[in-house]
């Protein structure tokens, strides 16, 4: 079938088409618009799963825009051309992005029901999804910059969706300043690379790279830009503000976007520059930043009373675990020991678990805000009596995020701890302590919010579709927690192998 060979592109193009069709359809009928969005997203999801299956079976897929072959019509060198390159790692991240997006869109339908300007809201949300898919699938540096900016602009617009709240505007402004600095760093780095090699394609650059001084500047610029976007420690300050103010479905997509930028970070450090730079130094930098993120995330979360800000700080800590795992794996790269591989797979596994756990927690908190209208946990109490299912979902989410045994957070954190312990026991101790403090924080939140005497009588019912979406997330969390080997063997190990073997990525294009 002809469409199947275009799947990598359709994953980007269908959300884009839907985004532009949304305002037109919204003028006709809001039901038609919602139906159209959900249909498009479900088909995208199916294509994403099919792509993942295909990539695992048949190897790397390269899609070229404008011509059949990537290297066609080039008198000298590799032509400047937009190329999408999908290996197991890209496909894995793409599946996470599209699944979380589908869940948050269905959640959104009831959550945002009474808001004004919904057409534009959905357009921006779909553009954000397009940007993330593009960042995930692209194999070209300049293209990456463009998608980076699409993500920044659309998410800034979404953060400021509640225009009547001054804090939301401030958070959006802060986010926009920070991410446009990041984008300019990316652009400057792309310019430097182009000046040296006359190339913009990731694989072609990885092939012809030399270890010059300018390359080190490029690595530093790209690293700081994507750490900015991911919200690791030295540049974390936008995160709690933004997560505290944006509408909840948007926050869920923003979490995914910061995980996507982590993925790009690792793609750059492992695949493009992995063979030439001083990976030990870089790995140590990333691992230490991870530790600092864990430390700062949990200590700041201790003193918060606003539920969304609290989970925002714990999101910083979760980013720290991913950085810790992949950073300590990078120390030994490219001659990896068994533990190095395990650390990297633990980090990749944690990206998935992170997305699921944080999304579940944010959706539960969003539902609490939806039914009570309060976002400060000191004004809540006794919700378990009205909403036992909500309490159960929160319990699952919090156990998973603090790494309690039968849930998915435990599986990935154990992999990280086991392997990082071989590099440096101190790093592991901080990680374990961080998890324990996080558990304590969430127990406090649970007790204050769900147990005790009900303080409010006017609590609305939870719409079924929202409950169903949270249920699906919780189901995934439990299934991954019970059968981690199934996921590690079938998804994580191929992704990890794709990341630590850059030569295959290069070969597929050239």
């Amino acid at each position: 079938m002809i469409l199947l060979e275009h799947v990598p592109l359709l994953l980007i193009a269908i959300p884009l088409l839907t985004a532009f069709a949304t305002p037109v359809l919204g003028k006709v009928n809001s039901f038609l618009r919602n139906f159209w969005i959900i249909t498009a997203l479900i088909s995208t999801e199916l294509m994403g799963i099919w792509l993942g299956h295909d990539v695992l079976k048949n190897g790397i897929r390269v899609y070229t825009l404008g011509a059949k072959l990537p290297g066609l019509t080039s008198p000298v060198g590799f032509p400047i051309r937009i190329i999408l390159e999908v290996d197991a790692m890209n496909a894995f991240i793409a599946m996470i992005v599209i699944s979380i997006a589908l869940i948050s869109f269905i959640y959104c339908m009831r959550f945002m029901e009474w808001s004004r300007n919904l057409d534009k809201f959905y357009t921006l949300l779909l553009l954000l999804l397009t940007g993330m898919m593009g960042l995930t699938l692209t194999g070209d540096f300049f293209n990456m910059f463009v998608f980076f900016e699409i993500v920044s602009i659309s998410s800034a617009g979404l953060i400021a969706f509640y225009v009547h709240r001054g804090e939301a505007l401030e958070a959006a402004f802060k986010y926009m300043v920070i991410s446009s600095i990041g984008a300019l760093m990316v652009l400057f780095a792309v310019g430097l690379l182009y000046a040296q090699y006359n190339l913009l394609n990731m694989a072609a650059i990885a092939d012809s790279i030399q270890n010059s001084f300018v390359d080190k500047v490029v690595v530093a610029l790209l690293l700081s830009a994507f750490l900015l976007k991911a919200g690791s420690v030295p540049v974390h300050m936008w995160k709690p503000d933004v997560y505290g103010e944006a509408p909840v479905p948007v926050v869920v997509l923003l979490i995914t976007s910061s995980l996507v930028s982590l993925f790009i970070l690792f793609r750059i450090t492992f695949t493009v520059f992995g063979l030439i730079i001083d990976t030990a130094l870089l790995g140590w930098i990333l691992a230490v930043l991870g530790i600092l993120s864990i430390f700062l995330g949990v200590t700041m979360a201790l003193i918060q009373s606003n539920l969304k800000r609290l989970i925002g700080y714990s999101a910083i800590a979760e980013i720290g675990y991913v950085l810790l795992g992949l950073g300590s794996g990078l120390i030994g790269f490219p001659s990896l020991s068994e533990f190095g591989v395990k650390a990297i797979s633990g980090g990749i596994f944690h990206i998935m678990n992170d997305a699921l756990d944080l999304s579940l927690l944010f959706l539960v908190v969003g539902t609490i805000i939806h039914i009570t209208g309060k976002r400060d946990m000191n004004q809540l109490g006794g919700l378990a009596r009205h909403q036992p299912s909500l309490a159960l979902l929160f319990l699952i989410g919090m156990s998973a995020i603090s790494g309690l045994p039968p849930f998915n957070g435990f599986a990935s954190k154990l992999m990280i701890y086991e392997s990082v312990y071989r590099f440096n026991p101190f790093l592991t101790i901080v990680g374990v302590l961080g998890s324990i403090v996080m558990l304590a924080i969430f127990v406090k939140v649970f007790v204050v919010t769900f147990l005790g005497i009900p303080r409010r009588k006017d609590i609305k019912e939870v719409p079924e579709s929202m409950l169903a979406m949270m249920g699906i997330l919780a189901l995934f969390i439990i299934v991954i927690g019970l059968f981690p080997n199934l996921f590690v063997d079938n998804l994580i190990t191929p992704a990890c192998q794709a990341l630590i073997h850059p030569e295959k990525y290069v070969e597929a294009v050239l």
Binding site: F142, I153, A156, S180, I181, L184, L187, G191
Partner: protein
Amino acid sequence: MLNNLPFIVVVILMALGLYALLFKRNLIKIVMGIHVLGSGVDLFLIELGYRTGGIAPIFTMAPRLEMVLPTPQALTLTSIVINLAVVALMLSFIILIYQHYGSIDSKKRRLKG
């Protein structure tokens, strides 16, 4: 020295942009800083593609065939468009912030950065 003049301008522009970004308190000046920084990067990209004696890469009625590289110009055009969108968005945020608080001074609120 004279050949490097455009690169010196790039450095000056980026330094000015960073200065405005880091040390100014007025939100509009911060946006101006970002735009100046962006222009510096754009100039850098354009300068990359210059070849001595090259003409604009247009075939229509071209006097000769030595041309500068068109690729960096395409990249610059894209980044100019993106910069425009960013600045428009940030200025509209500033309008709304001003309506809300009656001030565009970043020190008055917790808006550093």
